[in-house]
Symmetry: C2
Subunit: 462 residues, 2 copies
């Protein structure tokens, strides 16, 4: 066996792990998110962590990120297989870095077994060699939903997304949030109408997208560096700052439509946005939960229509906690078929880490156990085991303490883990078919008949 | 964008993925397993998929398996960082191939933040380059529990494992199963007592462990190849075939203890086994759910005491569906501390695939949606959205069909996905605040007031 003093057993940089109380919080959030996704009829899938490298790179650019390829390490007795391992060259495989390309591959692989529109959720781990200096994770869980249609997809799917975002963040009780909605066609159309050259529009939208982070002056400079005239830049800055209530912004946009009649794409974007807003309202989303923000664009180039970002009010520095949008070309790429989709994504690992640090979310107790049956004397163990099983059958999570130690130490052990109750049975109680129930939160101790114990604990837990 | 006809978008060999109905079955099993684990006070952890290679190899032998190292693929604009990427040489990292070494590392990393005995569950994906010809998976989910003590750990933790196995497999209703219990000290002690040389005992136990697969004659041959005398082989074969009720086997073992008084390890193993069996009974596990089987040993060399295998009655060819045991040296390896542990493992991905194939488990409907609100006419969409939201608030999973298509087509779409109910609202129903509720399983259709719709659906779902 290797000597421990030579082994660095820390986690590799960027590969986080949670303590039990944090992991329990993550599971609670995952359960909540899943419940909302399923409530809207999204069905779960999970694609392998590993895909063919050519599949992962099919979208083209891997951006700024490292992709983790696989490098098979053969055991000593299998060195001869090296050439057959098929893990390199044209057979190269790598860890997925998002869930969008894998969704496209999944649909291509199972086209005839799926029903369309295909509404799926996916909460897998993804792997991205982000620059370490950004303090970003290299492995993290993303909670994604997407609806994908064949050829067409109603804009009402776009309208459902804010309803789903609202239900999730209302359920987990993290305070007020605002869903900012825009449509990329509006931006693209507006840029065209003010004379920005076609081939520069995407990079200009990318510059606009950084407004929140870098401020107005930097955006102006960057636009001018792209060759946008000062006058045009001023129009753009004015445009993306249009604000007011949802209806006021819509009215201004519609007015702009009439004043720039040649900009078809702009007008289409406005119509789409209006349809989406109408759907959001029909779905009963509170007016204070959403707004139109003409400055949001989402950096990713594949979005073609509706885009969303979600900001936590008072914690804007956290950035968007849930984002997404509509895309046309992505999912059908392996099938040469038009498959429009719309989706949103929550970067859960990062979100949890940041919300814990900001004091917005509290970690859970270190164990799901609600009761510790303490060990007063080893010869009563059959009683302790029997009582533990009865409580478990009543759906109470129980730890039986097998080690006989001073009672105070056993209470401490329970308390350290956040277990609220101890059940204490000595020989007198055992004979009388009773137990002492200690509530470690209040230090209160009561005597309860064994047959009533489960009910009493449940009453106090409720 | 790359042309689809050049890209092989199939999953890499050995990296499986489920269709939605299979994934939903997996989630149901995961939920059930987690509920039982938590009922016994096990707390969740998840270690990163990626660990330092030296950590993964600390146990020594990687067996017959390929370990998947990471090979970072830098984007074009970051080639200069190659030397700093730190993913090779002493900084090499790889995908975890089990959850035992990562558990040891996790405990070493968080020693002072954890409470002991530390009872944790873990249901992560692991990655193993198994030989493709065996039809095994290279990525699969393992559901593990382990309890780890510092210096000591009560044998009653060993006794809890069969109770947990029983609750899980009873809950998922896969038919009769049998938990076979043994203790490696009994085997080791017996081998010593019949004169097998100390350094050959581990390999002899390995040979015994193959009895189920290769049969008695092959075991005899292999033992004799190891240099075990024919007479001794005969004693071993006789010994591992000792059977009868649990009490009969225990009696025979105790008799053998008195007749071989010099074999301390044998006697210790028998005492441990008796203590475990006594605990299993006190925990209320049915007598028909467990037996003593002196032929099971678990191939893994790190087991030192109790060992378990679980067989599905009538489907013995599936092999063990849940296995585990007690170990002494494994978890403390990074800390040079004695940390005994006991655990069990369910290889869930493989189990599901095989149970579906064997017809023991049925896949779920393709969607969690229980109701489809159909689209009779687009102008009633506000009503459809409103009704859908009301049903969702009543915890019914709903898909609203946005595409206006012939009613029969919409029923077909619902039926194909296994959605039991359609809600039909035309303009007359809308005016009368009513809906037609169609049960696609019985083809029955009833008229229900909108205010009673949720209750009526819940009544029919129950």
């Amino acid at each position: 066996m290797a000597k421990s003093d030579k082994i660095n057993f820390s986690t590799p940089s960027g590969f986080p792990e949670f303590l039990p109380g944090e992991k329990r919080l993550e599971l609670y959030l995952l359960d909540t998110i899943r419940r909302v996704f399923e409530n809207y009829g999204f069905t779960p899938i999970e694609t392998p962590a590993v895909e063919r490298l050519e599949v992962l790179q099919a979208k083209g650019n891997q951006g700024d990120n490292i992709i983790y390829g696989l490098n098979p390490i053969l055991p000593p007795n299998r060195q001869a297989e090296k050439d057959k391992a098929g893990e390199t060259g044209s057979e190269a495989r790598a860890l997925k870095f998002d869930q969008t390309v894998p969704l496209a591959a999944y649909i291509a692989r199972h086209l005839n077994e799926l029903s369309f529109p295909f509404a799926r959720y996916q909460m897998d781990m993804v792997f991205r060699g982000e620059r370490a200096k950004d303090g970003r994770f290299r492995q993290f869980r993303q909670c994604d939903i997407d609806v994908v249609g064949r050829r067409e997809l109603s804009l009402l799917y776009d309208a459902q997304m804010p309803a789903i975002i609202t239900e999730i963040f209302d359920a987990v009780n993290i305070g007020d949030f605002l869903i900012r909605i825009n449509n990329r066609k509006i931006l693209t159309g507006f840029f065209k109408s003010v004379g920005v050259e076609e081939e520069k529009i995407k990079s200009c939208i990318g510059i606009i997208d950084t407004l929140d982070k870098v401020g107005e002056n930097k955006v102006k400079n960057e636009l001018e560096k792209e060759g946008v005239l000062a006058d045009t830049t001023q129009k753009i800055i004015y445009f993306i700052h249009i604000d007011g209530t949802v209806d006021e912004v819509l009215d201004k946009l519609k007015y702009l439509t009439t004043s720039t009649p040649e900009a078809e794409e702009f007008a289409l974007g406005v119509t789409e946005l209006e349809t989406v807003i109408c759907g959001v309202r029909n779905l009963g989303v509170s007016e204070n939960r959403f707004c139109i923000d003409l400055s949001i664009a989402r950096g990713l180039n594949y979005y073609t229509g509706t885009v969303y970002e979600t900001t936590l009010i008072g914690h804007e520095a956290l950035g968007s906690i849930c984002s997404g949008g509509r895309y046309e070309e992505l999912v059908g790429m392996f099938l040469d078929e038009k498959m429009p989709g719309v989706g949103i994504s929550i970067g859960l690992t990062r979100l949890i880490s940041r919300l814990i640090k900001a004091g917005i979310l509290n970690t859970f107790a270190a164990t799901p156990a609600q009761v510790m049956v303490v060990n007063m004397q080893n010869d009563l163990m059959p009683v302790y085991l029997n009582v533990s099983q009865k409580l478990r059958q009543a759906k109470i999570n129980v730890i039986t303490n097998f080690e006989q130690r001073p009672l105070g130490k056993q209470f401490q052990l329970a308390e350290k883990q956040g277990i609220p109750f101890c059940v204490i049975i000595g020989s007198e109680e055992a004979t009388a078919q009773k137990a002492s129930l200690k509530d470690l939160r209040t230090r209160e101790q009561v005597e309860v008949a064994l047959e009533d114990l489960a009910e009493e604990i449940k009453r106090r837990l409720a």
